[in-house]
């Protein structure tokens, strides 16, 4: 099925090395991948496996040492600021910590208005802009009347993360990269955030890339799972294949370390 889909983002031999000589750290080590349109992908790894570096490479926040990234079949070009902005119209991100993701000096209205302007809606009449903002807020079950004229720090963590999704709703990117979107909020709000993200995927048909250390989450949301260890993908495949029938010893160990409820959790293996 994946062969019929168009490639959205792919990479060959992507490498990032920090430092020089003796002190060099290979954070991402010659990885190849192909993400298709409308697919939900999870990149799972422990801390220090290079998954956040990979996310930064995909977003174009840092330049790769080696290798190429292709966006919709064409080599990605972010050599100038203008081209970078053009690229960011297509790829957006949600980060781990919603508290530090907002500009503390701009009000929520400004945050949402910026998104409308970025989509080329600068010349829209005022009433239309308000309507769009209200629609985005109601998508994530926030009330626009309560949000207006407030600063982001006046919201709770869960509300901020939902406002982040409202931003994405207005921006309608081709790719959304969610870097540990639920690790700062508790398990009960986690289901809500995941539901909104999946609903948003259905609404605007984007590719959704989760970067996470939570294998349960990866199994729940994704079509394809990539397991990352020390900068390399050690295993990849459909969620059922990788999580239920893991082949690599590393994947097996990772899965056996997560608490289970339906099966016995074997504590003797550490």
């Amino acid at each position: 099925m994946s062969n019929e889909r168009r490639s959205c983002l792919s990479g060959t031999g992507l490498t990032k090395i920090f430092g020089l000589g003796r002190h060099k750290t290979v954070a991402v080590d010659h990885v190849d991948f192909e993400f298709h349109e409308g697919e939900v992908i999870s990149i799972v790894g422990e801390s220090g496996s290079g998954k956040t570096t990979l996310a930064k490479l995909l977003l174009g926040l840092i330049n790769p040492t080696e290798g190429e990234i292709y966006f919709r079949g064409q080599q990605r070009d972010i050599s100038s600021h203008k081209k970078k902005q053009e690229y960011w119209r297509n790829i957006q991100a949600i980060f781990q910590d919603p508290f530090s993701a907002y500009n503390i000096f701009s009000k929520i209205d400004t945050v949402l208005l910026d998104c409308i302007h970025m989509r080329g809606g600068r010349k829209l009449p005022y009433a239309k802009k308000v309507e769009l903002m209200a629609e985005a807020c109601s998508f994530v079950n926030l009330k626009f009347e309560e949000m207006t004229n407030k600063y982001p720090f006046e919201l709770s963590g869960g509300q901020m993360q939902r406002l982040m999704i409202a931003r994405i709703f207005l921006l309608k990117p081709k790719i959304l990269l969610a870097d540990e979107p639920t690790s700062m909020i508790d398990a009960c709000s986690r289901a809500t955030i995941l539901d909104y993200l999946l609903k948003l995927r259905d609404e605007i048909g984007m590719t959704l890339i989760f970067i996470t250390h939570d294998i349960g989450l990866a199994y729940y949301v994704s079509d394809t799972v990539y397991i990352m260890e020390r900068g390399k993908f050690v295993e990849r495949g459909s969620a059922d294949d990788v999580i239920l029938r893991p082949k690599e010893p590393y994947t097996r160990r990772l899965i056996s370390d997560v608490p289970k409820i339906y099966e016995e959790w074997d504590l003797s293996t550490v």
Partner: protein, 336 residues
């Protein structure tokens, strides 16, 4: 039925804020822990789990204040005691506590062994150092920690090792009850498993007699504890065994909570993930009736009229809802 080592009756504690507002974070909580059992406390952030843990120690300092109720540990009532007495004769020897940020609990300028000496000498100044060293070494050996750790500074240890060291130090005086407040929330899965294995081993090795384990991670709670108590807005809304609480919850809030469990197992494909809409009530002005009423799917008109007591159900369970057991179970059937 084993010997009850910790019994709490109608414990109420409150925070007094800078603006002289009362926040009732623990509201008439009663619980019993038997020897050899572990009790889990579940609930979302801000429901009073950590405050309950602090209140159970009987060691109150502003802004936390004791209001009413009894804490009986090993037959001794500690609820009315002065903070200094509590620190001398209860903490460490009767109740030990592992805080959420155990990573920062060690003194960065002291070696672990000196830290242990301080802990032991604070309770018995006559103890000699050789004895303390032997005690620490023996404890570390049983718990599977290398003895070299004793001569290291906290910065030299990894996160998981630091956490396990803190646990080993906290049980060095063989307390009756250990309270573990999210001991593994900052660790990766492998270190978490080591910490859990160690905690489970404490009771078998006779270090502690009972344990109270607090976390919002339900799969973990299910694996570690015998009984689970679900808290909501400072009150207990359900008490049951771990298995019943996870697979057959009665209270609508517990049901919602259990519906948010995500595990990497094939069983997950058969359940529908549920989320609870809304936010918990403000505890400065708690609602008069059922505190969960405004978020509840099965709300009745009489829910918000009067406060709901904890009803007993079959098999030693209890839940705080005006609907009958069968009505609730039937309602859940229709959802799935």
């Amino acid at each position: 039925m084993g010997k009850v080592v910790l019994e709490v009756k109608d414990l109420t504690t409150k925070y007094i804020t800078r603006f002289r507002e009362d926040v009732y974070a623990v509201d008439r909580v009663s619980l019993k822990v038997e020897e050899g059992k572990s009790l889990g406390i579940a609930g979302e952030s801000g429901c009073g789990k950590s405050t309950l843990a602090l209140s159970l120690m009987g060691y109150y300092f502003p802004p936390l204040h004791y209001m009413s109720g009894e804490i009986v540990i090993n037959g001794r009532n500690i609820s009315g005691m002065k903070p200094d007495d509590v620190r001398k004769s209860v903490l460490g020897t009767e109740i030990a506590y592992i805080p959420q940020a155990a990573m920062n609990a060690l003194n960065p300028t002291q070696k672990i062994i000196h830290f242990i000496e301080d802990v032991v000498l604070a309770h018995d100044p006559t103890e000699n150092k050789k004895f303390i060293y032997d005690l620490a070494r023996a404890s570390f050996e049983i718990l599977g920690l290398p003895a070299e750790v004793l001569h290291k500074y906290p910065v030299e240890l990894s996160g998981g090792m630091k956490q396990r060291t803190v646990i080993a130090v906290s049980v060095i005086l063989r307390p009756t009850v250990l309270i573990a407040d999210e001991p593994s929330s900052a660790l990766d899965v492998t270190s978490q498993k080591m910490v859990i294995k160690m905690l489970k081993g404490l009771m078998d090795n006779g270090f502690i007699k009972a344990m109270i384990f607090i976390t919002h991670e339900l799969p973990l709670l299910y694996n570690v504890t015998d009984d689970i108590m679900v808290m909501y807005a400072g009150q207990i809304v359900e008490k049951a065994t771990a298995k019943e609480a996870v697979f057959d919850p009665l209270h609508p809030y517990s049901k919602g909570l259990m519906g948010s469990i995500i595990v990497p197992e094939s069983g997950l494909r058969n359940v529908k993930l549920t989320a609870i809409p809304g936010v918990p009530p403000n505890l400065k002005k708690p609602p008069a009736g059922c505190r969960f009423a405004e978020r509840c799917k099965y709300v009745q008109p009489e829910c918000s009229a009067t406060s709901v007591p904890l009803y007993d159900a079959d098999g030693g369970r209890a839940y705080r809802c005006i609907l009958a057991e069968n009505t609730l179970r039937e309602a859940y059937q229709h959802v799935q």
